[in-house]
Each structure stands twice: as structure tokens, then as C-alpha cells.
């Protein structure tokens, strides 16, 4: 697969995975054009988390920036509330899991790190390292951004119809 095709494919995967992730949480999101994150414009109130990944064809960091107003839309059990930071860390973990599952079909396995919270300094640091792309999504409560930084060897994306694996929501009893 050529680099441009690979880039487009990955962009589609990230967009669909993000839409699916927030849809599962009952939050409607619409993809906007991929762009760079304006670090100066990120609100200090935004919830930010990141997770590292590595593998033979890719290594880097996936970041997720969510306005606090979006977290207010998340349904919670009042008896068992969780914090916005815990939620955004879980979300970036699940987002990478979804992208990873899609990449397996293209024979690009990834190892996932552990999700971490990120502050504005961390975002600036990632930005200086070189954010490959930022994917923006519109919601009723502001814009969500997904950032991707690191190394991606798009030419190694190679579709295989014989690769079968479980996917989100599946339950397999042994």
C-alpha cells in the first residue's frame, strides 16, 4: 500500500473508531477535517489523556482532548461516580484498542502502553516532538481532538482477508 493510501486508511480508522467510541457512550460526534492542534487554544479545562503504542510498523503516542462539557453528557450511576480524568484515560485506552483491532486486519500488530493523564505542558511536549496529525470532531459541547505522534510505516499496511479476530463487544466463552 502506498504512503498516501495508508495515511488515508489510518485517518478513516481513527475517525470511525472515535465516532464508535463516543456513540457507545451516547455522545454524537461528527468528524471535521484533519488539522494540527492549536496548543495555545486548548482550554486548561479540557480533559486530556494519552497512551503510547509500539510495534514493528508503528510507534508513538495517541492523545485525546475532550472539553469538560462533553464529560457532563456521560451517564453515570450517582452512587458510583467516576472522575473526568479517569473517564478520559479509559476513553483513550479504548480508542487505541479499537484502532489496534482495525490495524490487525492490515497485519500491523501494536503493543499498547498504559493510559496517562496529560496536561498542557505534555501537549506542548508532544507538539514539539511532532504531531503527525490531529483529528477533530464536533460535538454539541465543543470540539474533541485526537492526536497522533510518532512513526507510522504506512507501506507496511497490508490487508489480509484471512486474519480473523474478535472485535468490540464480543464475548468468547472458552
Amino acid at each position: 500500500m502506498g504512503p498516501q493510501d495508508g495515511r488515508t486508511l489510518l485517518e478513516t480508522m481513527i475517525q470511525s473508531a472515535t465516532v464508535d467510541l463516543f456513540h457507545a457512550a451516547g455522545i454524537a460526534v461528527a468528524p471535521l477535517a484533519a488539522n494540527r492542534v492549536d496548543c495555545e487554544a486548548v482550554s486548561s479545562q479540557a480533559l486530556m489523556a494519552m497512551i503510547n503504542f509500539s510495534g514493528p510498523g508503528a510507534s508513538g503516542t495517541l492523545g485525546l482532548l475532550v472539553p469538560t462539557g462533553v464529560f457532563d453528557l456521560v451517564k453515570q450511576d450517582p452512587a458510583r461516580p467516576f472522575s473526568g480524568m479517569a473517564w478520559v484515560q479509559d476513553s483513550v485506552n479504548q480508542l487505541l484498542g479499537r484502532i489496534k483491532a482495525r490495524l490487525l486486519q492490515f497485519q500491523m500488530p501494536l503493543q499498547m502502553g498504559l493510559p496517562m493523564s496529560m496536561d498542557e505542558k505534555g501537549l506542548m511536549h508532544l507538539s514539539k516532538q511532532g504531531i503527525l496529525a490531529a483529528y477533530r470532531f464536533r460535538t454539541l459541547r465543543g470540539e474533541i481532538s485526537v492526536t497522533l505522534s510518532g512513526r507510522i510505516e504506512y507501506a507496511k499496511l497490508n490487508y489480509s482477508s484471512t486474519v480473523t479476530h474478535v472485535s468490540e463487544g464480543d464475548i468468547v466463552i472458552f
Binding site: A24, D77, A79, R80, P81, F82, S83, A86, W87, Q89, D90, N93, Q94, L96, G97, R98, K100, A101, L104, P109, M112, G113, L114, P115, H165, V166, S167, E168, G169, D170, I171, V172, I173, F174
Partner: protein, 120 residues
């Protein structure tokens, strides 16, 4: 007879809260742990009837915890709940004696139904 106790091991506070809430609403008692080391201690101290276990966690991951549980001797049912989908990881869990693999995000009603089937 007391409620059957389920141990939920996950580093995500969100998952621990959601899964525990769903299980308690369905009539189970729950305890939680944040990583594999806490999970092993909880198995010893709480004697749960079942474990729901994440894979990627700090300090000790779920598969290492699983292999430390000696399930073939204890018979303790364990269900993995993870974002991982790699067949090699599933095979490792199966070899260690896990009873099933659930990929996040799982519908909580289906999770409870699966717990009921496996624990029966």
C-alpha cells in the same frame, strides 16, 4: 446464604465503577482491585466466587496474574475484560484456565448474563 462475590480487577476507575455497579444491581457482591498484585491479594483475602480481569495494567498485568492463580487447581472462574483482540493473548489466557474473553466495551447486561452462566 450470602451474595456471591465477584472480584473486578482493572486499573480503570471507570470500568471498576461501571462493572461493579451492574453486578451489584444484579444481586452480586463485588470487591475491586487496581492491578494484578492487588488482585492476587484480594483473591486470597476475599475468596471471590469469580474474577473479572483486565489485561493491560500497571505493576502486574492480567495474564501474569492469571498464571499466578493456578486455576486448574482452584477452579476459580476468570473472565478477561480487555481492549486486546490478539489471538495469541486469548490463547495464553485459555491455556492458563480462563473461562472467557470479553472485548471492551461490553454491554453490561450481556456481561451480567455471561457472569451468571459461568458462575452457575
Amino acid at each position: 446464604m450470602g451474595l456471591k462475590k465477584i472480584l473486578v480487577v482493572d486499573d480503570s476507575e471507570t470500568i471498576r465503577q461501571r462493572v461493579s455497579g451492574a453486578l451489584e444491581s444484579a444481586g452480586f457482591a463485588t470487591v475491586t482491585a487496581k492491578d494484578g498484585i492487588e488482585g492476587l491479594v484480594s483473591v486470597q483475602q476475599e475468596a471471590p466466587a469469580m474474577v473479572i480481569l483486565d489485561v493491560n495494567m500497571p505493576r502486574m498485568n492480567g495474564l501474569d496474574m492469571l498464571e499466578n492463580l493456578d486455576l486448574k487447581t482452584s477452579g476459580l472462574p476468570v473472565l478477561l475484560l480487555t481492549t486486546e483482540v490478539q489471538p495469541s493473548l486469548m490463547a495464553r489466557a485459555k491455556k492458563a484456565g480462563a473461562r472467557g474473553w470479553m472485548v471492551k466495551p461490553v454491554n453490561l447486561e450481556q456481561l451480567v448474563e455471561t457472569v451468571r452462566k459461568v458462575i452457575a
